[in-house]
Symmetry: D4
């Protein structure tokens, strides 16, 4: 599309049938369809539908990320010369980080996952500093107090996108503390909404495409 970001179906709030239909339509119009936040029921309905209607399509299922990608046999995946690091503080950050990963891969970027390096155990993070500094862009997902993107952005000179995650209960729970901490960060972060892995991936993907353009010329 004109906006540079592939369309995706947000399964949450839709029936399995609706999602399956939208995926089928996506396949037909653009050769590929992406969906996020699928339940097992959504997933099953998509498989059943496509098995019948589009037997040649390939389906890629990431159950951890709750995403699904279907591709027509002749769909040509883009390929960008740019690498995005997708970082998580802990296991609860897997869904939004996985959403970002799926979208980035569909936009053609190389993704380097660096998991479970939350600030509660700083040594693990410092061990990864070399890898972190090699990326073109970083997406850093963190829940609760959301300190990880701030700590990393103070140590690297690549752009960091903070991705707050809706973990945490009580005051500032549901990702609100993480979001407000990230916008207050004393380092140079930009931020997306709580759990908006899709948006973080899209933004990093647009930067990756600019870099790919620059490297080509």
């Amino acid at each position: 599309t004109r906006s540079g970001v592939p369309e995706a179906v947000l399964a949450e709030g839709k029936t399995p049938t609706e999602v399956a239909d939208l995926i089928a339509t996506g396949l037909e119009t653009t050769g590929r369809a992406i969906a996020t936040r699928l339940t097992p029921d959504h997933r099953e309905a998509v498989h059943d539908h496509l098995d019948e209607s589009h037997p040649g399509a390939t389906i890629e299922d990431d159950q951890r990320a709750r995403t699904l990608v279907a591709r027509a046999p002749d769909f040509e995946s883009p390929n960008l010369d740019a690498t995005v690091g997708v970082v998580t503080a802990g296991t609860s950050d897997a869904i939004p980080a996985g959403e970002a990963t799926t979208l980035l891969e569909e936009m053609g970027a190389s993704v380097e996952r660096i998991d479970d390096i939350g600030v509660a155990s700083l040594a693990r993070m410092l061990d990864q500093l070399g890898v972190l500094r090699e990326q073109d862009v970083l997406i850093v997902a963190a829940g609760r107090e959301g300190a990880l993107p701030t700590v990393i952005a103070g140590l690297v000179d690549v752009p960091v996108i903070g991705l707050p995650v809706s973990t945490g209960y009580g005051h500032g729970g549901e990702g609100e503390a993480a979001l407000s901490g990230m916008v207050q960060s004393c380092t140079a972060l930009s931020v997306v909404n709580v759990d908006a892995g899709f948006t973080a991936g899209a933004q990093a993907g647009l930067i990756a495409r600019q870099l790919d353009d620059a490297r080509e010329s």
Copy 2:
């Protein structure tokens, strides 16, 4: 610094003497000093101090943006092969947009200012679409309902950083409606805090540096 962003003095909440001293120290240690949110009193104190202590320094004053940059005679400004568009919806967005502009220029990026194209008069914005699409990155400042970054991001395929501005009174005033609208945007925006022009500039500057690197090689 390691984080890739030049240090700057936030004058707000400091006395004129404190700001002048910090500027002088900055000049001596790094050859350049940047300050934001200066009042006329801050400004005067800096000029008085530097006239005496660093007569060779050049001072650049942007009264609209409320920023100031001092440079030692031998300071070599960086120069990046990348262009950032800094867009405002209206005149009230001038201060944060100016802060972003100053920082970007000090990081070496070319800045293209595109002013007063708020959604209340869509035609003016559509007229600038060509220019908007030519930029490597866009920072879009908007207050009140903050709709402009969303509308632009739907029309271009370069990364857009939303910069909410603290205009607006009543419910959702002080930039809160703009911030929450931007994180809710149905397009791919990343966002910084209300009035955080400095952070938006830093983030766009880091992207510009990556692009410059990519173009060089």
Copy 3:
């Protein structure tokens, strides 16, 4: 009633039997009954009840809008010489927009639906500008950042009523960003509560009645 707006039963929070009884009572006292936010269970209970108690009544079911209207055989529907445009940004806005539509039709206004013209794809909206400008009043439903009513109100000179919708997760989710953005709008909107399609319809219906009066005389 004295307030000019037909009574309606809000099914949410009532048992199927309660809703069916209230519909039957409405039919008897005013010749017509309107209900909103029905589940399939509510719907079934109403049909079962009326089939027995009021076999002559006609029932109009809008499953998308989750509304239901029952009319006695001799009920005379009002007819106003005025047209209201009911606009949606996306498919998630269908329920409140449908509520508004049902109420407007029961008040006698002509309704023109203009769907799926959200700001993420501005071209689709600009295509409809002619139709939008022909309406007497516009109700514009939008969730997430809620920018659509602002963009439209800047392009037309008919009164626009903003209808925020409870889509969106995270910060500003549940329609709060949309509501605060609409009251902050830099154009001349009036606004109703999140998901209050009934209220938006009622307000537009009262304006339509004034116009009908004016045209008659």
Copy 4:
């Protein structure tokens, strides 16, 4: 403009000189200029400027409403066949109600002011019921708990626009209780932001213009 609402200068946050210049420009380009939220200093600067630059212009000053209108000698004021009732609960509602009045008069509507009929003394309000029911549209301003628009809308069948006012201290103060009460109203209100008299006037003015059109034809 295309949006149907005359431009106005919001003096708040601008210097007296800036306001005077904007008024002068407005006079030249459209033959009339409107400003709101003027301090005495703004006012004086406008008079001084226009006395010199536009000696033929007439200036209308409403100190209670804090508005000012300047007109070129040959400006032709519009004249609409429609009446808007502007109602206040108490004396603290005078500024936003006055803003609405000024704008409506400049748009050409007849304005009927009905003041100080707050719910604490219901009898005074009931006395005015006849007048209230004669208006084409009502704007009802109220602060603190903001109950007046709800009470009136239950008694009349003309459209009512609720205008919350930033009176009240403590919990729900600054107009927040009034705004949330009005959007929660169990009657058919549409609402504008706290203190947004200008917006309420604009919206009512657009309705008045539709009625004038209807009456003409």
Copy 5:
């Protein structure tokens, strides 16, 4: 107890067995037990338990109010020479109003229920003005915008306790608009928490006891 208010079991969040046990204990220690917010399961468990353990006890069940009172055969109910009016705006206010009623009756006050006189139909309320003015104290329950206690308090000179109810969706929903409106009221209300019918009843009961004392002497 020393605080003057009978103990009661809040069934919400307790298992049926726990509630039944607490009721039985209450019966034994004070001759009477009160419970609020019971589900049908709670209710059944209490009946089953008491049928066996306290066959002589009488059980009073108010399913509308979701309350239950058990009394030992020899329990002597208090009897106060004072009347409290318990008023509701609409049917959704029945549960908290019923809670207040149950508690008041157990404290010995006479209760006068005045139902469904919400501000949307002011005439019904004005019809009851005589009855309202005869009460010693009034509890006025209202949800959504919560205007009824304000309107009544302006018309009577007995003390009015506002009881906000958690109806209403969207902004200010869940009783928040009603609560903030009642504390902002331009009349002399005191207020209890959202849905806190028990507290309202206790407070009115303590006033009733003071009046009874005064009348006796």
Copy 6:
């Protein structure tokens, strides 16, 4: 008035001249005028005005409470057979407690002040338990965490009205923690808005009047 509460002028937000005029008018129409939240300038203006216009009037000035009462020579103060205890946790509660006291005295109740018995020094409070239990009604003012009304209500069986005070900074400051703590209280409190000493006094005054009536008969 019909509402049973004497009118009062809220000086805050009014000019000294406006307040003086309103006091003079009050004197003439009802023989007495009450004002709250006066600055020294308001006070001076009232004295100057009345010295000239109403030389026979008596003026009572409570600078601690920031209230003022003016009475015509022939005004007959009411006298109720009922006592209200007005309690403060600390010195910062003096203004709202003083407002309540002034209003109660003007309504004719006897007021017993019990000061500085905040929960941080429980012994001082327990010493006053006898006095507290002798009152007909208690108003208990407290800022910060607002625990005092809860503690007292657990120890007495007279009705307690909680009066939250706007002391305290940071999270829950400005009286918000006190208000929410009082509505959450596990004892039977009714509550007024933050700093609403006037309202607390009015409510207690209406109860006092009921008691006086009961005692007379």
Copy 7:
């Protein structure tokens, strides 16, 4: 670990299998595993898993506290010469207080439980004053208005950690009033998040370890 606090598995949001696996891993790596917020399903899965994989392990189940501890046969529990008082206001505080107790015991502190001494019945609390003053540190759990830690901290000179509990409905419900009241407390409290019994226990455990160190030397 370096942080001094034993790891624990937060069962909430994890499947029974995941929790059982994490417990087994914990057992193997550190000889002990702690889990919090288990449902009966989690509990069963852990027992089943360990019965098979670690038949020699002992499992301690606190169903009230919803915690579980598994220990390898050779695990040596620490033993600190320090006592922490864990206090509850009422029965609803049992879960977070139990979490704190479990963690403290696993860190080796002696725990003294002092239950059901909420402020509504001050006498019960005053009876325990001797015991309270003998502890080295106090954790005081309280929901609703959360006044208990404040009242206790005013009467003892040992450090008190406030633990707000998510009881209470309506305004300030879900523990928000308790948290804000505790941070506003006019005594010297430190505080943890709503329901964060684990954190309160960890903090008190670290203090206990310091005291044990001091006593040993």
Copy 8:
């Protein structure tokens, strides 16, 4: 006092004369007086007053911390065998950290100040790790996103008290992001209110006194 914490005068909101009087009274009753948040005017008034009334007293002025301590000639300062580390992230944390320092010193603890080690430059912090680990307790002050206490608590095994500071503008400003981040911390922090350096000092001082007791015996 019984609570173990010395009384202190909060100068904010009091006149210079009031503060001077309270200091003089404190001196007389306990031999020492502490005041916080003094302006230069307060300071001057205290000096003037004591010079005259208590010429023998010594006054200690910490202008950075805005605190003042006056001691009678014969006052014996306590002396505890315990060290508290008071840590700041940046210069804006100086006032609350200084308040904590003053109170700790007056309670007799040794204070080690470790300044300007905020997370934006992690190396400076890691350099201080040895010193941090040597303290008995740590108070860690931080504004904006408030990440520093979390990062430190993950690296040390002494108890850490988080002290959020009211720096930062926009969303989550005024210390709200820091507070909510600290209560959400994935490490074991206890927390005090925004800017509550006095409370943090008091809490750490009580722990220090326990340690001193333990070491003595």
